[in-house]
Amino acid sequence: MSNVTSSSIPLTPQPAGPVAPTVRRTQPRSWLARVVLDTVGRAGAKVGLVWIATITFCAVFAPMLANSHPFLLKMDGRWSSPMLRHLTPTDVTLLVSFAAALTLWALKPLRFAHKAGALLGVATVTLGLSLLFVTPPKLAVLEQYRQAIEQGRVEWAVWAPVPYSPNDRQRDRFTPGRPHPWQPSREHPLGTERNGADILSRMIHASRNALAIGFIAEGLSLLIGVFIGGLMGYFAGPIDLFGMRLVEVFSSIPRIYLLLTFVAFFGRNLYLIMVIIGLTSWVGYALFTRAEFLRLRQQDFVQAAIACGLPLRSILFRHMLPNGMAPVLVNVSFGVASAILAESTLSFLGLGLVDEPSWGELLNQALSAGGGFHWWLATFPGLAIFLTVCAYNLIGESARDAIDPHLKRAPV
């Protein structure tokens, strides 16, 4: 129906020939991009990010860093790679996603949203494929390598830096007069826990759970909180009234007791713990989002978007959400810290994961094993929890400073 051609008469004639290359040099950046850059540039955030990067590295490369299976093994004249043979679907997904993330990072022209989408796609596809095709042996006898060495069958082997799997329990090995846990020694730099597993190995593998708890639980509560808060703020009126009552109900639920109850009844399941932490911590995000949306609703550009005939979905999630996300995102990093603490608390109380390595569970053994106090079981996992929570809080503080207009011009 565009019967009126719009560009038949150009109002301003365009200059012919090449345009002088002096007009604009800097890359245009969105507000959110500038906030992220400002955040990352601050000293606190740098320290925090270094630690989180370390944890992430440990989480992704855990099977390479700490494993009883050697990388390469020449035994009885045959070469094999037990480590690769025993990779789980989770390991494969993490490794492939990490490689994909690095590749996408290097691809400059793509937009952040597209990169994130591509990464999610790669991760999902890899997980699906690896669940089908990666089938590690169900039963892995970790003792076999030590026995083989004693029997002199191993001709040549390349071991992981920490040559113990997290569940390589040496309690049953014959160690007369030296019951576990052992103090830090040359063989076990951070000591062993009461079942004889290497603490460093368990801590490396536990970083996965720490990251997963933080991100999945907080991701869930972020989704719920932003959705409910957004609806409350945009529609106001009765929906707001109902939403606020919902917020009050949920904020009156004590999280730790709910976790304890559910774990007691439904068993110890990492995903259950994540879901419960997510379901009980969306309240803060909902309140933040609601306040932002109440403010944004009056903004001219939202009115202009409505006047342009954009559908509600686009107005809420494309036009309002990105403008109201900054204060919410600041709180995500505090939320991740508190989710990690919640899981550690649960494990410390002895109701955490079974068999899976966890920092809180190691901390728990510092006291409960035999009545004595084993300092290495308290210090190293405690330090890991402390540093991780600290790192997230540092990033959160930096992000808060970055979006605070009052601090914008303050000398750093």
Binding site: S7, L11, P28, W31, F301, A304, A307, L310, N323
Partner: protein, 362 residues
């Protein structure tokens, strides 16, 4: 050719709660009648709080309900390709989404905040184009470039990837106009499009609007309180006071012979170039709060002409056609007693833009 009005507002009444949601209601717009013909510019004039913006927002159903409420009235929308006029107030939200932006577009007062800061201007224009026109993305980019060229932005292709904060106020208003016009609307609602801009930019933007109106053959509802802008741009003037239209007529008639004391007050408070002034005349008092309009003529407490006339303070004067094509709502306007109660309807268009804008004020 026989002309049908493009847009015809009948007895539009919009109310808001006076203080509490359930309490008495204040009438921001009361029984407003007006009609806009294709390619016509109708100027809605009045002080702040007169109901000008609410009238314009009602056309697109943009008044927030609640708290607002459409008490009465119909807004007939009759684009040239439609069979029968449609009542915009009766359309569902979904149907309105097609009218908004696609057939009727709106430009807001404040260009500094009317663009979304997190998207480039290209993304914002292209989103609107993709929504209202059945074109693919490549064509949408072309349309966006053409729209930016049309509003006189240099290097339009590279400007598409700029964020709004890197543009000046005048540039942003141009972008807003480009965005509004990218979908070829039949009617443009311009809510004080130049108020937030400095004077030289104001002139450029108004000239741009006139030029685009000629080329796109669209009508404009121009909301302003600047009578200079009215004199240079409008074909028809509707003066609003306290939610009502108090005077209505072709621009020359209203400027030559303002009949309502409020209109005369507006003219008297305008400085004239080349004339020595003492203090400028003012209209004493303020626009009454819609929550408690005075009984009778809402202007009577501020009216300089008549004091103590019991009719003014008891009965609201109706809007009557006192001369051909000139309506006024004032008991003391000449010939008001013999006026015709026809709804205001003027199809006048000035012959060519910016022809004879003489400030023939009272």
């Amino acid at each position: 050719m026989p002309q049908q009005p493009l847009l015809k507002i009948e007895d539009l009444t919009v109310s808001f709660p006076a203080d509490r949601a359930a309490g008495p209601r204040a009438f921001a717009v009361q029984k407003v009648n007006l009609s806009i013909y294709p390619q016509q510019t109708l100027a809605l004039v009045g002080e702040s709080g007169c109901g000008k913006s609410v009238t314009a927002l009602s056309i697109l159903q943009l008044v927030a309900t609640p708290p607002g409420r459409y008490e009465a009235g119909r807004i007939w929308w009759n684009p040239p390709n439609a069979d029968t006029p449609r009542n915009l107030l009766a359309l569902s939200e979904k149907q309105m989404c097609q009218v908004r932006g696609g057939q009727i577009a709106m430009v807001f007062q404040e260009p500094m905040t009317s663009l979304n800061p997190v998207y480039t201007i290209g993304e914002q224009i292209i989103e609107a184009v993709l929504l209202h026109q059945q074109v693919d993305r490549r064509r949408a980019v072309q349309i966006a470039v053409e729209a930016l060229t049309d509003v006189g932005i240099a290097e339009p292709a590279s400007r598409l990837s700029e964020y709004p904060h890197r543009l000046s106020g005048g540039m942003r208003q141009r972008v807003m106009i480009a965005m509004a016009l990218a979908c070829q609307p039949r009617l443009l609602l311009a809510d004080e499009p130049t108020t937030a801009l400095d004077v030289t930019i104001q002139a450029q933007i108004l000239e741009l609007l006139r030029d685009l109106q000629d080329r796109r053959r669209m009508a404009i509802l121009l909301i302003t309180h600047d009578l200079g802008v009215v004199a240079e741009n409008a074909d028809v003037v509707a003066v609003m006071y306290a939610g009502r239209i108090v005077e209505y007529g072709p621009v020359h008639a209203v400027f030559r012979n303002p009949l309502h004391p409020y209109t005369r007050g507006l003219f008297a408070s305008m400085p004239l170039l080349g004339k020595r002034h003492g203090r400028l005349a003012t209209i004493p008092g303020n626009v009454p709060n819609p929550a408690d309009f005075p009984p009778g003529c809402p202007f009577h407490p501020r009216c300089p002409d008549v004091r103590g006339d019991p009719q003014c303070s008891t009965t609201d004067p109706p809007l009557l056609e006192v001369e051909p094509q000139h309506w006024v709502a004032c008991w003391h306007a000449p010939n008001h007693t013999h006026g015709q109660p026809a709804p205001p309807d003027v199809s006048y268009r000035r012959p060519s833009p910016a022809s004879t804008a003489n400030h023939a004020t009272a």
